[in-house]
């Protein structure tokens, strides 16, 4: 059906990654760059391309892909078009952990561990609420997530108010979503692969959830199992993404909608394309953020909204 367009979305993956490797605050020039890309050339160029730019580009991709897939899953799971990974309070929990660590003067490792603890704590709380209900009661999970996010938001603002000016900048960047401190993206890629495979395999059973719980069940879907799988996948994806880059907003909300508006509604296509499009979008946004006003770096979250929101508006205007 929409093969050529789908191919274009998939092609954005290598193109965006190549651009991220080629562009940066240091101009390498075509010859040094191409030599370094294929593992030759001088050591400095190789280190810039593969030691600095590549891990960050791959981290950006994993982060965007995870958030977009999590958003797609949550939108169908909660049957709410405004659902995005932030709605479960997971990024809020991670933010509380990370900011507390920054405030306490912990280093990068401590900050990372605290963010992970916060994210897992929040994910555990939401899942506990969901599991207590036996079945996934959509409205209650949504409200529980909103309540958690509100609590975390309050704690974050208190910490920001109390923080000394020195640490304020680091905390703010964490909240805006920042890839400069991203660690190795290997774990996030594993999570991305697992989540994409799991969600794609659910496929048309996810499509049936759009018809409501009872209809899906009467069509032979094990609704509780599908919901639980999708929920765990979405939570896991969010935790992995937040660990890499903090609270990057917008991708999870907008990428799935953009793809649906462009005509991909079936989850067998929507999930892999969301991973590809979300990943590429964040790579592009981060590359712009790194190169627009060197040597300064603009927060990737802000660039994303500036690039992505107009795209969504155009799609909305063109929608029949």
């Amino acid at each position: 059906m929409r093969r050529p367009a789908a191919l274009a979305v998939l092609l954005a993956v290598p193109l965006s990654l190549a651009a991220a490797l080629a562009l940066g605050s240091v101009e390498l020039g075509a010859t040094r760059l191409s030599a370094a890309l294929f593992g030759g050339g001088d050591e400095v160029a190789r280190e810039i391309v593969w030691g600095l730019r590549a891990p960050r580009a791959f981290a950006a991709f994993a982060c965007g892909g995870l958030l977009a897939v999590a958003g797609a899953l949550l939108q169908i799971l909660l049957r709410n078009p405004l659902a995005d990974p932030g709605i479960l309070g997971i990024s809020g929990g991670a933010a509380v952990g990370a900011l507390a660590a920054i405030l306490a003067g912990a280093g990068g490792a401590g900050e990372h561990a605290a963010a992970f603890a916060g994210a897992m704590g929040a994910a555990g709380l939401v899942m506990l609420v969901a599991a207590r209900l036996g079945t996934l009661d959509v409205t209650r999970v949504l409200l529980a997530g909103v309540a958690l996010a509100a609590i975390f938001g309050a704690v974050v603002s208190v910490m920001l108010a109390l923080a000394p000016a020195m640490q304020l900048r680091g905390m703010l960047f964490w909240l805006l979503g920042d890839l400069s401190a991203a660690g190795s993206p290997a774990a996030a890629w594993l999570v991305l692969a697992a989540v994409v495979i799991a969600a794609t395999a659910l496929g048309s059973r996810l499509d049936a959830l759009a018809l409501g719980r009872d209809k899906a069940q009467s069509l032979g879907v094990h609704v509780a199992a599908v919901q639980a799988t999708a929920f765990v996948a979405a939570a896991g994806a969010t935790v992995a993404a937040v660990m890499l880059a903090g609270a990057i907003g917008f991708v999870g909300l907008v990428v799935p909608h953009a793809l649906r508006l462009a005509g991909w509604h079936a989850h067998t296509a929507l999930v892999p394309l969301a991973a590809a499009a979300g990943g590429s979008l964040v790579v592009v946004a981060d590359t712009i953020g790194r190169t627009a006003v060197p040597p300064l770096e603009l927060p990737v979250g802000a660039i994303l909204a500036l690039v992505g929101a107009p795209v969504l508006l155009v799609l909305l205007a063109r929608m029949r």
């Binding site: 499509d207 049936a208 018809l211 009872d214 009467s218 509604h265 067998t268």
Partner: protein, 255 residues
């Protein structure tokens, strides 16, 4: 082979909808489920489809409780048209109708030409051929209703449960749809449908289940139940009865 309610009691908070319901629906039969608003028609149908846990009693399929069947096994045998569906489906009408085939174990990555053919046939049967490529969410209310029925035809269960299948349909499509459903029963399927039109029930159904406000019920042959006195008691509304050329009509008495 039958789908049966055995001592089925259904409650909503503060009220018993039906108490100790006993019915047995067999292939070849066409049942009308009649009752006033809130009398429990939808709940009974949902319970028969295994979507509602009975307060007491059980629903059995071929002698076994519904819980003994896997969800797919059940979906291949019993299908239901619900009164309301969440309408957040983004795809084309054809894609919507194809979802009926989920329980067949297909629905993998490769498009299945058999399902596609069935879906197009079902669309044609409900006069929706020209809407196949139209986004489902842009269909009118009546078209959506027919698309839902088409999806049920693709599901192709043995037992068809339909909650107000004629809602939102214009006269021509009402007749075409109920004739199609009656034909399913004649062809060896079982059909049970909640209706608000006793005259259509009298014309097309051979069995009736009347659900009274007091949680009582009557079940049996349409001939005896679909007559003036039981219907007046059912709707608590004076009715006239006309019979012409073997067809019965029950217009409400003008006050």
């Amino acid at each position: 082979m039958s789908l049966a309610a055995r001592g089925l009691t259904l409650r909503v908070p503060g009220r018993t909808l039906v108490a100790a319901l006993e019915i047995e629906i067999r292939p070849g039969q066409c049942w009308a489920v009649l009752g006033a608003n809130g009398s429990g028609k939808s709940s009974v149908l949902a319970a028969l489809a295994g979507l509602r846990t009975p307060g007491e009693g059980a629903v059995t399929l071929e002698g076994q409780t519904l819980g003994a069947y896997g969800r797919r096994e059940l979906a291949r045998r019993v299908g239901i048209l619900l009164q309301d569906e969440t309408e957040s489906f983004w795809g084309a009408t054809l894609d919507y109708v194809r979802l009926g085939a989920l329980a067949r174990g297909a629905g993998g990555f490769a498009p299945d030409p058999g399902i596609d053919r069935d879906a197009r046939e079902a669309l044609a049967a409900l006069d929706l051929e020209r809407n196949a490529a139209q986004p489902y969410r842009t269909l009118s209310g009546g078209e959506r209703q027919r698309a839902r029925i088409a999806q049920l035809l693709v599901q192709a269960p043995r037992f068809y449960l339909l909650d107000e299948p004629l809602a939102h349909l214009d006269v021509r499509h009402q007749v075409a749809t109920i004739e199609r459903l009656a034909a399913l029963a004649r062809g060896g399927h079982a059909v049970a449908m909640a209706l608000h039109e006793p005259w259509l029930a009298a014309r097309y159904c051979d069995h009736a289940l009347l659900l009274y406000d007091s949680a009582r019920f009557s079940a049996g042959p349409a001939e005896t139940l679909l007559s003036r006195a039981p219907l007046e008691a059912l709707y608590r509304c004076p009715l006239e009865a006309f019979e012409e050329a073997g067809r019965r009509l029950f217009p409400p008495v003008a006050t």
